[in-house]
């Protein structure tokens, strides 16, 4: 869908990290965790391209300004890194945005009997929160492994805990939770069956998780990032190498259309 959305709120959670709520048509309630949206930050040419963000949450609220009617919303959790996100951070209630959503393929939650291990860090936690919400609602057992360089990379843990998700935090410098890599903490919980990993975060972290998942033969889905222009599979700007890619037998996947969530075994990690 393409729709005009109104900013409901846009709050700085911790320095440089913002949570923004936008209005959406009711159809967006069908959006899957892991799918994403693309928004046009400016109607001028700067910045030119849309910016992609995962869903941090999708739901409904009673919109006071709309006379208490039920209004669908979506939320993103974003980090200010460049000119687009800088402009986003300056938006206020009432500002309008143009959205494409939902885009791409989301997480496959798998059977309910499995234990769901969510692994992420920084803004990688954003789509995992929406995933956790959906999994918890289904009654699944969910654990969160949140890692980062330091405490600033660990966001919204209380939100996860409020859902009843058990959280394991680790930081490289030990400023929050255990000191060390998130994969070390994750590995202690891994068993060969009845588990499924969902990971989102910086590519090196995803790679480490993918390698570990392979070693322990645990199914693992990763949510990837790539520079995007169109978001709909048309420009071929956002591709990644599939597991069997070679110069002779090319196997590129579009992050925007075939992903952003991939089975970690499908991708080439070298």
């Amino acid at each position: 869908m393409q729709f005009k959305s109104m900013v409901v709120s846009n709050v700085e959670l911790s320095p440089g990290y913002f949570r923004m709520r936008m209005t959406a048509p009711l159809d967006l309630l069908g959006a899957l965790p892991g799918q994403f949206l693309m928004l046009k930050v400016s109607d001028a040419i700067d910045p030119l391209l849309r910016r992609p963000f995962g869903f941090f949450d999708v739901g409904t609220f009673s919109a006071e300004y709309a006379g208490g009617g039920t209004q669908c919303y979506c939320e993103i959790l974003y980090k200010v890194v460049g000119k687009g996100t800088r402009k986003l951070a300056a938006l206020h209630h009432g500002d309008l945005l143009d959205l494409l959503a939902p885009l791409g393929k989301g997480f496959d939650p798998g059977p309910g009997c499995e234990e769901k291990l969510l692994v992420g860090g920084g803004v990688g936690l954003a789509p995992l929160y929406y995933l956790a919400k959906v999994l918890v609602a289904r009654g699944d057992k969910v654990r969160l492994f949140a890692g980062g360089r330091n405490r600033d990379d660990i966001l919204c843990i209380t939100e996860f805990e409020r859902l009843g998700v058990e959280s394991y935090v680790s930081t490289d410098d030990g400023t929050l939770g255990e000191s060390g890599l998130v994969t070390q903490v994750l590995e202690r919980h891994l068993r060969a069956s009845g588990m499924r990993i969902f990971a989102c975060g910086p590519t090196p972290m995803l790679k480490a998780v993918a390698v570990m998942a392979k070693k322990h033969a645990v199914p693992c889905q990763v949510s990837m990032e790539a520079y995007m222009a169109c978001g709909v599979g048309a420009c071929l700007g956002c591709v990644m190498k599939g597991a069997n890619h070679s110069e002779e037998t090319p196997d590129y996947r579009c992050v925007c259309k075939d992903g952003p969530v991939f089975d970690s075994f499908e991708l080439q990690w070298s």
């Binding site: 520079y227 700007g237 956002c238």
Partner: protein, 305 residues
């Protein structure tokens, strides 16, 4: 007032309005079906097609620049056979002319791809890309040397009876002599411009941002260069021209028509707004209505210099 006449005809291809989608920016059409009515635009041009499937370049392949973007996709495409088997059937059902953009690594390949498409129902015409800056093997020569370009055009002309559009590169000293060479070699129409070759650098990592180092610049930034070239070529060559480059709205499109274009292609704009082509056609029509202009074709080359 009556609705204005928005139809145009280019190289024998009849279109309901002058707005075509530029190759490489509209996939194989289906990607955009959720966002606009494919039967509301003038024509669709598909992603550049080569004889064999092509992997394209390593990533990153795109980067934003001031008022534009660079791409170095490297012509990743499914190859002509897969296109015919997998993509064309969908497109053929849409009541809008489909023009297939083709590319060859060698002179011969150009001829072969064109030959495979000849006689196929659902293919309204062929746009020959002699101007892709992002592939190494000779692409540059075909697009920048009038003799080499003419050779490609002659061969493709022999290989197909379809309407033949030749797409020109802006990375040349003299676009008019390129245009003349293609016209003389048998092109039915010319489209321009393809992208300007550019580069972006990641200062902190001290590396080019694109894996391919250089890429093609598109978007609003290039519009003045595109307008100039369309105007130059339209003045000098007796073929219909399709204007391309940074068209974002109906006014931009109409400016290209004043400069001499019979139709336009919309590229980067479809990334910013997947319904851009339809919106632009609507804005053009509205401009005609607001200004009491009866037919869009009356604006072609109507610039007073």
């Amino acid at each position: 007032m009556q609705k204005p006449d928005m139809t145009v005809e280019v190289a024998g291809i009849k279109m309901r309005n002058p707005v075509m989608t530029a190759s490489g920016t509209f996939g194989y059409g289906a990607e955009f079906a959720d966002y606009l009515n494919l039967e509301s635009i003038g024509a669709m041009i598909t992603k550049g097609l080569s004889l064999k499937p092509k992997a394209g370049n390593p990533t990153p392949r795109i980067v934003e620049t001031p008022g534009g973007m660079l791409n170095a996709i490297g012509l990743q495409n499914v190859g002509v056979d897969a296109f015919i088997a997998q993509k064309l059937p969908y497109l053929a059902k849409v009541d809008t002319p489909v023009i297939v953009n083709v590319y060859g690594n060698t002179l011969e390949e150009y001829g072969e791809v064109a030959a495979r498409l000849d006689g196929l129902g659902g293919v309204a015409g062929i746009e020959v890309n002699i101007s892709c800056p992002n592939v190494k093997q000779g692409g540059i020569v075909f697009g920048t040397d009038p003799q080499a370009a003419a050779e490609v055009v002659r061969l493709v002309r022999k290989s197909t009876s379809k309407p033949l559009i030749v797409k020109l590169s802006p990375n040349v000293t003299d676009v008019v002599s390129m245009a003349r060479a293609c016209a003389d070699a048998g092109a039915d129409a010319l489209s321009l411009i393809n992208t300007l070759t550019g580069m972006a650098i990641d200062l902190d990592r001290r590396r080019p941002i694109l894996a391919n180092v250089t890429g093609g610049l598109s978007g609003p930034a290039i519009k003045p260069v595109a307008l100039r070239m369309v105007w130059q070529v339209a003045k000098s060559v007796q073929l219909p021209i399709i204007g391309i480059g940074g068209i974002m709205n109906g006014r931009d499109a109409l400016e290209f028509m004043l400069a001499g274009a019979s139709a336009v292609e919309v590229g980067t704009a479809s990334f910013l707004d997947p319904s851009a082509a339809q919106t632009i056609a609507r804005e053009m029509e509205q401009y005609l209505i607001d200004n009491g202009i009866a037919s869009v074709a009356s604006l072609i080359g109507a610039l007073e210099v």
